[in-house]
Amino acid sequence: MPDIPIERHTLPNGLRVVLSQDNRAPIVAVDLWYDVGSKHEKPGKTGFAHLFEHLMFQGSAHVAKGEHFSLIQAAGGTGNASTWFDRTNYFEALPSHELELALWLESDRLASLLPAITQEKLDNQREVVKNERRWSYDNQPYGSWPEQMHALIYPPEHPYHHQPIGSMEDLDAASLDDVRQFFATWYAPNNAVLTVAGDFDQAAALALIERHFGPIPANPALPAGPDVSIAPIIGQELREERRDRVPLPRTYLAYRMPVFGSQGFDELEVAVDLLGAGRASRLYAALVRDQQVAQDVVVFAFPLVGGATIFTCWATARPEVEHQVVEEALLTEIQRLTDEGPAPAELERVRNLHAAGVESSLERISERADRLSMYTCLFDEPQRINAEVSRYAAVGGERVQAAMQATLRPDNRLVMTYLPAEQPDGEP
């Protein structure tokens, strides 16, 4: 069982701090989560949280454009950021004697981003982000699937209806005024979690954090998050066919399911692995190895925390195989596991794979820092990092079966098929 050390503090301005010491190697990871993501975007502003994340690297009061990266590199470190539905995070990993540099850079942009942001920087990063969208979505075979899937699983008024990357139109419309408002609303120490993991001295690290982050004022008017309420099941079967420039048909199934962090999520996480983890998984064995109708099969659950999240799986048809055959095979195997429940040996298999996978992930201090910030930001419970394996192992076969019965049912599913075509369909 993992036993990652955790020490928690909260600064007077509301910044939650998690320290996780490990002095084996002279390296340290800093991971700062802000409780703001694409779900907080207003209509007509899709993609803004992510575009804003890019602007956080364009300089602040005491840091010039590009200097964030050049200083981290010159210190012998790496760093980046990511934006998702529920949150945005910024992270660095560097030699431990440079810890203060990372803290200073993070605090400077939280304290003083706005004076440094110009129209030119906004325009430049807007183009970069539009190229990110082209590269990840628009110029990729099957690249539109997450956008399509979310738009169908969540109604238009739901905050998960759109992707963090946003639309080209909304990106074009983003203004400096939006930047100012977004920063003033969400980028405050009482809306953030700072984790430091690796080689440091607790008291010294805390003193540095207090020095750099302590003077930054809280936002006393931090708004509540968006309304994410949604019916737990869709209520009907949805079917969608997309003609796209893809080499082979691919069938996606998607279901609404209980949110990340809940017991229901744990149960379906085990179902995900029974169906899709490894070559002995149900779907790989049936569709890829035995029936040979699919080239690949993927199963996973989105770890979203608002209202309902998504259980999804997909399989790409082998050449000459009709997509209906693949759909039928997916549904048959899911139903079979739902009806039978997992055998003890199957549970042992996924538990052991999971336990080894957790140990493997937690070897890296940057991964520890990320998970500690995640569990604190989403649930205020960093200690969940040490409970991943026990929660997973506590899920028995009957619970898996009951969760599958409640979730993986026809009136709660989307069947989405991509079919090869010379002329792709337009936007939805």
Binding site: A25, G278, S360
Partner: protein
């Protein structure tokens, strides 16, 4: 709001020393070299078995047989069929992998300490008594052919395949993916796989690497028990001298309707033994091997043409490519090519600025311990020492070698290796939209070809 605090970059603290973990090596009587890297505090063990059975060892007429052989190994043993073998490994929490690159074939797994010895027994059984089931062979062969089909629909993967195809002369094996092309893959038979295995999987040129949490004596005993009776030495890889296909030219692979152009710009680079290895690493790092590189600063951060651009060498036993990789929006394709070539042309003309040189060196030196946080990273670090015969103190001296690279050496490496006037410019994009402007650059003969 501006908060007037801490305007200055804080001073660095005193650096702490770091050493790559010490390791031992020994040869079993059958020639297998066993490398042991115990890592204090580790909670996992990582195991690699390397055989000199990569694509450089295969018969060129059977291109792809090394990759298929490696893949077919995990499809079971004489005792356990494909499904039973998957269950046996995964019930130990082990995902057994087996794959082949140009320079070696690697069977590998990682495990919690209790499962290490049972895992080694299954690894050995897989290598020594593979099933090579004809049905599984046909399935994996069909999957490889389908994968090629998928790769060619993906603009980035199509660009990678096309780049090497037009870069290397057709007699150089590197002109095709190490996993082969349809023309040879579809000719392969299970007998070819059996022959490749019988000839090239042998302990004489093989290496067993174990890193992380384990008892060294117990692991040596397990290696003797499971692999000591394995015999043979094998002919090893072929040698060849890569040759370029032609001088500077432009190839546009037509992909109508593309909203971006995938660009690959480069030439044949260096092999793993090249004396310019460290200067080339430093030079390519500052040009395009770190986030705030010359290429990123100009093409992304000033022009906004791309989400990202990078360049680097891919040293192998023989000279692998030097490649600049990016994707730009269609309407700036010609301009992006001109900008990239201008930056590459500037590289050999002057030594790097002192601060960018310093940054590239400290970056590579600083991220050194980050590469070895995971036991699998440590096992992977032994691999080049094992297969290329690098000195045992390679990683002990690595940072000093980087720190020793000066501006003159970096410039000399650029002059020797980065020669834009000999580069292939490969673009995968909408030829109708980009052809005229690219031709108008006048950088070399321009050819438009259909996607394969």
């Amino acid at each position: 709001m501006t908060i007037a605090i801490n305007p200055l970059r804080p001073a660095s603290g005193p650096p702490r020393d770091y050493r790559f973990p010490p390791f031992t090596r020994q040869r079993l009587a059958n020639g297998l070299t066993v490398w042991l890297v115990p890592v204090e505090g580790s909670r996992l063990a990582s195991v690699f078995l390397l055989a000199d059975a990569g694509a450089a060892a295969e018969d060129e007429a059977r291109g792809g047989v090394a990759a298929l052989t490696a893949q077919l190994l995990v499809s079971g043993t004489q005792r356990l069929d494909a499904g039973a073998f998957a269950e046996a490994t995964e019930r130990l929490g082990i995902e057994m992998s087996s794959e082949s690159s140009w320079d070696s074939s690697r069977a590998a797994f990682q495990a919690l300490p209790d499962q290490l010895e049972p895992g080694m027994a299954l690894l050995a059984e897989m290598l020594r008594a593979p099933r090579f089931d004809p049905g599984e062979f046909e399935r994996l062969q069909a999957e490889r052919l389908t994968d090629i089909l998928q790769a060619r629909a993906d603009p980035g993967r199509l660009a990678d395949e096309s780049f090497i195809g037009y870069l290397y002369d057709a007699d150089t094996p590197y002109h095709r993916p190490s996993a082969g092309l349809p023309e040879t893959v579809e000719q392969l038979t299970v007998a070819d796989v059996r022959a490749h295995h019988a000839t090239h999987y042998a302990p004489g040129l093989a290496h067993l690497i174990v890193a992380g949490a384990f008892d060294p004596e117990a692991v040596v005993r397990a290696a003797e028990r499971e692999l000591g009776g394995w015999s043979g030495s094998g002919p090893g890889h072929r040698t060849f001298a890569p040759r370029p296909a032609a001088n500077r030219r432009v190839v546009i692979v037509d992909r109508p309707g593309s909203v971006q152009t995938e660009l690959r710009i480069g030439r044949i680079g260096i092999d793993r033994f090249n004396p310019h290895y460290f200067p080339a690493l430093v030079e390519s790092t500052l040009l395009g091997g770190m986030f705030w590189s010359r290429l990123q600063r100009r093409v992304r951060e000033e022009l906004g043409y791309t989400y990202g651009i990078r360049c680097g060498f891919d040293p192998r036993r023989a000279a692998g490519p030097f490649n600049t990789t990016t994707a730009v929006q269609t309407d700036v394709t010609a301009s992006a090519i001109a900008e990239i070539l201008a930056l590459l042309e500037a590289a050999p003309q002057a030594p790097p600025e002192q601060d960018e040189l310093e940054q590239a060196r400290t970056f590579q030196v600083g991220v050194f311990p980050l590469r070895f946080e995971a036991t699998v990273g440590i096992a992977a670090a032994i691999e080049p020492i094992a297969i290329y015969g690098l000195p045992d103190d390679y990683w002990q001296r690595y940072r000093a070698q980087i720190e020793a690279v000066d501006g003159t050496q970096a410039q000399r490496a650029a002059a020797e290796l980065i020669r834009p006037d000999e580069m292939l410019v490969l673009a995968v994009g909408d030829a109708t939209a980009i052809r005229d402007e690219v031709e108008a650059l006048g950088i070399g003969p321009t050819q438009v070809v259909a996607a394969p």
